[in-house]
Amino acid sequence: MNWFDIGEINDIPLRGARCLKTRQGKIAVFRTHEDRIYAIEDHCPHKGGPLSQGIVHGAAVTCPLHNWVISLETGKALGPDDGAVRTIPVRVEEGRILVGLGELLAAAE
């Protein structure tokens, strides 16, 4: 796996998200209320809604299209809905966000 520096933590608004374009599709990178950073595929398991555009609360995001709630920790839909998106490894070092992409790229090939 390769770690890529994608910017600093303050590039993402608190309780917000930004998206990251890769050749294999978009990744949504979230910053929660507790300043935790998560990354998941930017593609809702329901009908592909862009999760990066949703409202972030706790460690979850509500999809902007039909309000599914997706856990940022596990990528799984919470509540009565079923489905999951892939989670992408991230770590924060000295305020910089690093995303681990080898696995994704490898998986997509």
Binding site: F4, T22, T32, V56, T62, P64, G83
Partner: protein
């Protein structure tokens, strides 16, 4: 070793059976289900709300995919079982999968009956049974053309109401002289016909279909009389037949349905049958209540836990068409040995009839007012001798033992084993005891634990009353409906406390009001953000992360993740210059679709998010500002041409509309606000179905409010009449401000008005000039901070991060 249980069909009956089985004997079987429909188990009863648009398919799913995974059940979707080999104990699907079983459950339901007339196979002829039928009807309904529904029974009428709701011109053909003749006597059938016709649905009784006409697709229906009724869609809802093909071919005993004993076992001891395909004691069923009973019995049989037996009981019939209340149970035919008691109230459209034999109720038909249905049913079930209460019987339960005005008294008097939820067979004591044992306080919880009111929902009111009775002050649905799972407080309390405690940020509200989550959820955060914006216009810093995406980026998200852009077109008036600027933007950014909206302006659809600021920059140069087509705020003010051009115009409706829009744009409101101004009572701007509408008349301006034309349709009410434009503006602004201060988030004006009462609103806005002025002034003050064009703000760099991906990294290289 675990035994293998195979189920054919994944409808409502086996779904319920599995719930009981998994509870009684979770590990006893390895379970495999084959379902011809390519989907999970959903609430078939609720197809009508999906058809009419009240619900989405997602909301009626009973067991989602995860449920099967969790219980280790294999579900073959879209696999129709085509053969059972009883000797080898295997079944085979049409996709070639063969599975062995120790126990087999057949639950193939019913098939809609299709009358064998010429043309029955034409495209556009549908039956009404599953989601695919509904999807096909919805596609057909988009044409808004004519539909014929053959069959005036429960299904046919629900289909007709749904299609009419979707804007089709619907005719119901019914072969008998009155509608629903199997459940209703002629008098009630007649009232039903009237109620259906009031909804704009045409009803033809004694109408015998001779042929369905069309060349390549449906074009009409020909009656025996030779008359032809044009139609682009024909729905056949004339009845159902138990689906017994598979069982017959397997050599099981089959009469009308698959014959079982009262433990649901067929003529083969290893094969059970549940649901509409089953015949027991000479009867087959078509409503879920008895099927759920079968499910219970079959589960007990499979689990080997307790010996349950199926016992026949009549199920009441109700129609799920909003506003039509009917209830029917038991036998209502006339007869020598029968007596009847009837109550009619023609002006109120009420008809009640109770049929007696030997002083006991054997049947009940209620129309227009059905609250006493369960009570009559109770007396019938228990075969109570009613001689003592005969004089007042028909007036219902509240009249027994002295007139009671307390609606709860009737519920209190209900016996413990009285059935409350017919669909799920839940009685009163089950609800009261679960509330006590588990300490439940919300309707959702009671639903989840007991299933009461979880199917067709018509008993919701009753369940709520039982909750009120059991919990006393602990349950008051009107007051204690919490905003969301993050708090126990309702919207009104939160609004009150924000003011009372001077709470000025979201974290402060959450802290002081003891929110149960760290930072709220997608329901409460936008609501709190609005309350704070509305209450502290000068001080509160809008929290964009608590706004829905549309309000965060000032455009409407589309299903593919692109956005639409709707600039303001004041009062619907535009110019060559504006149109040219729009045309240039569309060309420059290759915007795929341009559409005239229902709100008298132009929508550019399919704009890429990254392009939004540049699109706005160009529009801004031509003088456009955001149309707030995405906002819980002022949307459009529609106008007609008025005195400027129209020969009937009484005032300058266009001018007034533009003036209102320019005065009020940018304000945030609890839900969207749409207005219109018509120049005369011909009302070409459709002002009488808006949140606020003005009808100009010779002597001034008639101000209307509380209309709706979306999910609900409601004509406006008149707030008052004024003489000048200035007064009209003041009244409208004051009304809006009152709503801004009191409305619950997402509550449209008509709902707020229903809650507050028109009298109270008139008292404050029309009768009390000081109050009106104070509201007006507060609105004007808040506009100082609100009337900033969000587009030009973003063009000049605000929230830049929203419109671009995070810092670029060359992933192409990285991949190498």
């Amino acid at each position: 070793m675990t035994e293998k249980l195979v189920i054919v069909g994944n409808g409502m009956a086996p779904g319920r059976m599995l719930e009981h089985l998994l509870e009684a004997a979770p590990n006893r079987f390895q379970i495999t289900i084959f379902n011809a429909e390519p989907r999970v188990n959903y609430d078939r009863i609720m197809l009508s709300p999906v058809l009419s648009g009240e619900k989405q398919y997602e909301e009626i799913v009973i067991h989602g995919d995860g449920w099967y995974i969790k219980h280790g059940i294999t579900l073959y979707k879209g696999h129709k079982v085509v053969a059972i080999d009883r000797d080898a104990k295997t079944i085979t699907s049409n996709q070639g999968v063969t599975e062995t079983y120790d126990k087999l459950v057949i639950a193939t339901g019913s098939v809609p009956f299709v009358i064998p007339v010429p043309g029955k196979d034409l495209p556009g002829v549908l039956s009404y049974r599953d989601l695919d039928d509904v999807s096909a009807m919805l596609v057909a309904a988009q044409s808004r053309e004519t539909a014929v529904v053959i069959g005036g029974g429960l299904l046919g009428l629900e289909a007709a109401a749904g299609l009419a709701e979707r804007g089709m011109d619907v005719t119901v053909l019914h072969v008998m002289p009155t509608l629903m003749e199997r459940q209703l006597d002629p008098a009630a059938g007649y009232l039903l016909q009237q109620a259906v016709e009031e909804r704009g649905i045409k009803v033809r009784t004694k109408a015998n279909t001779k042929a369905i006409l069309g060349n390549g697709k449906v074009e009409g229906v020909e009656l025996e009389t030779g008359e032809i009724i044009p139609a682009t869609l024909v729905v056949m809802a004339v009845g159902i037949r138990p689906n017994v093909v598979l069982a017959t071919e397997a050599g099981l005993e089959v009469k009308r349905g698959i014959v079982t004993d009262n433990r649901m076992v067929t003529s083969d001891p290893d094969i059970l049958s549940v649901g509409e395909c089953t015949e027991i004691d000479g009867r087959v069923y078509g409503l879920v209540a008895p099927l759920y009973e079968m499910a219970k019995v079959a589960a007990a049989q499979l689990a080997g836990t307790e010996a349950k037996r199926f016992v026949h009981a009549d199920t009441p019939t109700k129609l799920k068409v909003t506003g039509i209340d009917l209830y029917s149970i038991g036998d209502f035919a006339d007869g020598e040995d029968r007596e009847e008691i009837i109550l009619r109230d023609a002006s109120a459209g009420i008809y009640k009839r109770v049929i007696l034999q030997d002083n006991k109720i054997i049947g009940t038909v209620l129309f227009g007012e059905t609250a006493d249905g369960p009570w009559f049913n109770e007396l019938k079930k228990k075969a109570v001798d009613i001689s003592g209460i005969r004089d007042t019987l028909i007036f219902g339960q509240a009249f027994q033992g002295g007139v009671s005005t307390d609606p709860l008294a009737a519920i209190a008097a209900l016996a413990d084993d009285a059935e409350v939820c017919g669909c799920n067979g839940v009685c009163k004591s089950t609800i009261t005891s679960v509330i006590a044992e588990k300490g439940l306080t919300s309707l959702e919880d009671v639903r989840a634990h007991t299933k009461a009111s979880a199917s067709c929902g018509t008993c919701t009111g009753l369940v709520e009353k039982i909750m009120t009775l059991t919990l006393g002050d602990g349950y008051n649905p009107a007051v204690v409906q919490p905003m969301c799972g993050c708090t126990d407080l309702g919207h009104d309390d939160v609004r009150r406390l924000i003011k009372a405690k001077s709470l000025k940020t979201i974290p402060q509200v959450m802290q002081e009001l003891e929110w149960k989550t760290s930072c709220g959820c997608a329901k409460c955060r936008p609501a709190l953000n609005y309350y704070l914006v509305a209450d502290w216009p000068a001080e509160y810093a809008d929290d964009y992360q608590s706004r829905f995406i549309n309000e965060r980026v000032h455009a409407n998200i589309q299903k593919d993740g692109t956005y639409s852009v709707v600039p303001r077109m004041w009062g619907g008036v535009t110019s060559a210059g504006e149109l040219r600027a729009i045309a240039d933007v569309v060309d420059k950014f290759a915007i795929p679709a341009v559409k005239v909206t229902g709100g008298q302006r132009i929508d550019m659809l399919g704009v890429r998010k990254e392009d939004l600021p540049a699109v706005w920059a160009d529009l801004g140069k031509a003088g456009f500002v955001s149309g707030h087509a995405y906002a819980k705020g002022l949307r459009t003010v529609k106008t007609c041409v008025g005195t400027d051009w129209c020969r009937f115009g009484t005032q300058d409706s266009t001018g007034l509309g533009v003036r209102i829009e320019k005065f009020m744009w940018g304000s945030w409101t609890p839900a969207k606000v749409k207005m219109a101004v018509s120049g005369c009572p011909r009302n070409c701007a459709e002002a009488t179905c808006k949140d606020v509408g003005v009808i100009c008349v010779d002597s001034g301006y008639e101000i209307h409010f509380a209309g709706a034309a979306g999910l609900d349709i409601k004509g406006t009410e008149v707030l008052g009449q004024v003489r000048t434009e200035e007064e009209a503006l003041e009244v409208i602004v004051a009304l809006t401000q009152m709503y801004r201060e009191q409305g619950r988030y997402l509550e449209r004006i008509y709902k707020w008005a229903r809650r507050i009462g028109r009298d109270e609103i008139q008292r404050q806005i029309i009768d009390d000039p000081q109050k009106r002025k104070a509201y007006f002034d507060r609105f004007v003050f808040s506009q100082k901070f609100a009337q900033v064009d969000p587009w030009s703000q973003r063009v000049s760099g605000k929230d830049k991060h929203e419109f671009s991906p995070i810092a670029p990294i060359s992933f192409n290289e990285a991949a190498e």
